[in-house]
Amino acid sequence: MDSEENIRSLRMAVRAWLRENVPAGWREAMTGTDQASFVSAQRDWFAKLSEAGYATPHWPEGWPGGGRSLVEQKVIFEEVARADAPRLILFFVALYHAACTLLECGTAEQRERYLPGILAGEIWCQGFSEPNAGSDLASLKTRAERRGDHYVINGQKTWSTMAQYADRCLLLARSDRSGPPQAGLTYLLLDMKSKGVSVRPISQITGDDEFAEIFFDDVEVPVTDRVGEEGNGWAVAQATLASERGLTLVELSQRMRYSLPLLRDLMRARRCEGDSAARRDLGALIARVDATCALADQYLLKRISGTEVAGDASMVKLHYSRTLREFVSLGRRLSGLQGQYDPGFMRGATQETGNWTLDFMNSYNWSIAGGSDEIQRNIIAERLLGMAREPKNWQLESPA
């Protein structure tokens, strides 16, 4: 299947398709735009991509667009990145977090019920974090009380990306307050249009409002929308987070690699191609970017072959996050004073717009969200390297 011939023709086909279909000037169109145009641009692009079968190369065989080999997936991600096509940020949680969770932990009925909706363009959000439960996710307090064939939800989530647009939410809630915190969690699929759900967007430091608070006031969720057993939500949530830490990064690291020409353009524009300090930094960065791509690919191979171990996904995420920060920092530094002028608000900006100060700020999404760099380091140290864990019991002593 992965013969050189096949791969080459897939690459050519994808490239030709992208040349025809990537909306010209889409980035400019997102500058200063309103929510409605952002949503409709994302919807149009998603519809085109999934119709062509390029939106879900990471899905398994039997699903539209799925069943691609790793090499094929990479070719598609590479070409999409190379064409600087819009990223499907509005559908990111649906395509990765929701789909992977359903495929790994959902029932056949749940898959039949929800995956087609995702392919048809349903927007999902992830409702894990709470004001007092960020890194310490297991301490979350939003309640899920069983009443007959429903759960009744009360509480609050925060930092939920795209929640203001979402049709559905991956909800992690507490169904039992006795016992250790991880043990009492239950994983639910919540309809955002249910009675009692309200959403308040949060203004971000970039001027965008991509994430939101979600409030639940006696919201009912049918028991059939529970993923895994009651009280087994922690394990299901790990599947969601692993997809975010590992799988999404195959795409994102390719994005980063194909954004390297932005640095070349910048160096030309700033006339510092001959500057040996800048070239040295660039060279070091390129090696690190390639390493990030290689690590993400290896991770995927391990996942496919079932040889993944705890900590692998964390290394992929941490490697990406640190390299991305170096990438955008170099751009920001080389942009000089020009980079400090605000070109106007860009909706749905990612970390590769070539507006380096904006990209720099957005790069913090990857070092904070989905388990911060520090949390990844803890996982790598404790689970992969087997180093002693932080004590659970502690006592606050006043400093000497």
Binding site: S129, N132, A133, G134, S135, D136, S139, T158, W159, I202, S203, Q204, I205, G207, R332, G336, L337, G339, Q340, Y341, D342, G344, T357, F360, M361, Y364, N365, S367, I368, A369, S372, D373, E374, R377, E390, W394, L396
Partner: protein, 348 residues
């Protein structure tokens, strides 16, 4: 003098505690004029407090910590240039009086690109990063060859200002375009060798002032971050209990202490001789290190705040954006590190 300095700093701290973060220009400018902060660095024989650059810098530090929007920094540069000019008395005294009593004379925070057309005596070019130009009556400018230092009235033909939005919302910067402004109509403060020395002095003061601003910002932000780590609890304990985070803060504090010490040292070394090349070189190091440190503190602070740091309502990002801008002010386009290395290697 040091007592005076301490009092001034304390009063500044009090004032800024009352103006909020960021400290708004509307509130702060009239207040600082009234409190006589502009007089702090002015020599005593011109009616000032005679606290010199040290006095100005301790205020810059406090204003940096409060994310001041007021154009105090360029105003002190402008004032200093007038004080040290060869303008005849009583003209000079009259200017000092004007610029200390609320009329804003501002200055660009980077090096302007202005030239004098030979013979014609007409000034043309662009000065970027002129702070609060819309509220100023005059701008301190110098030609690219440092041959002429002057005070340009904004209200004259051929002079145009354009507001430039920056990520940093704690400063309002303008592009100033000058098109064939007759030199004879301007207030020339120095020409030739005197101008070159005056521009060196000006650059020295500007770099030290930016360093002081950055130190203030870094210290205030580090304090904010420490408070967050002490009060925010995860895993049933304050974040401050995690050694990984303590070490990061300890590193930041150590860097900051170094940058602060270098600035203090530089200020002590140059206060009497701000016009010479050695002083400028000293200022380069202080500016570079203070701004790099501020940025480092800001980058780490955003991470240490977690999600709340990414929210507009929290002040963390205001510091970050000011730190990013600070890094590119002064003569940053030429590269401070390179200037420092060249000076050392004798390759300048």
């Amino acid at each position: 003098m040091t007592d005076y300095l301490g009092e001034l700093r304390d009063s500044a701290r009090q004032v800024l505690a009352g103006t909020g973060t960021p400290a708004s220009e509307d509130k702060l400018w009239p207040l600082l004029v009234e409190l006589g902060w502009l007089l702090a660095p002015v020599p005593e024989h011109l009616g000032g407090l005679g606290l010199g650059i040290e006095g100005a810098c301790s205020l810059h530090t406090e204003l940096g910590g409060g994310l001041s929007q007021a154009a105090y920094l360029p105003a002190t540069l402008c004032l200093d240039a007038v004080c040290h000019s060869d303008l005849p008395e009583p003209e000079r005294a009259a200017w000092v009086e004007r610029l200390c009593s609320g009329e804003l004379g501002t200055a660009p925070l980077t090096d302007p690109a202005l030239t004098l057309a030979s013979g014609a005596g007409a000034l043309s070019g662009l000065a970027a990063t002129v702070q609060s130009a819309d509220r100023a009556s005059h701008v301190l400018l110098w030609t690219a060859d440092h041959d002429c230092l002057l005070l340009l009235a904004l209200d004259q033909p051929g002079v145009q200002i354009t507001s430039r939005a920056t990520w940093d919302v704690t400063r309002r910067l303008f592009d100033l375009r000058v098109d064939n402004a007759a030199l004879a109509e301007q207030l020339v403060l120095a020409r030739g060798d005197a101008a070159r020395a005056a521009v060196r002095r000006l650059h020295t003061l500007r770099d030290l002032s930016l360093a002081a601003d950055a130190i203030g910002g870094a210290a205030a932000l580090l304090a904010l971050t420490l408070e967050h780590l002490a009060t925010r609890r995860q895993f049933g304990r304050p974040l401050a209990l995690f050694q990984a985070l303590k070490h990061r803060c300890a590193d930041l504090k150590t860097r900051l202490a170094g940058a602060e010490a270098l600035l203090q040292d530089s200020l002590a070394a140059i206060s009497t001789e701000a016009g010479d090349a050695g002083a400028l070189h000293t200022a380069h190091k202080a500016k570079y290190l203070a701004c790099a440190t501020f940025l480092n503190v800001a980058e780490e602070s955003l991470q240490l705040h977690g999600g709340i740091g990414m929210a507009d309502e929290h002040p963390c990002h205001l510091f970050l954006k000011r730190a990013m801008l600070n890094e590119h002010l002064g003569s940053a386009e030429q590269g401070y590190e390179i200037a420092i290395a060249d000076h050392f290697l004798g390759t300048a």
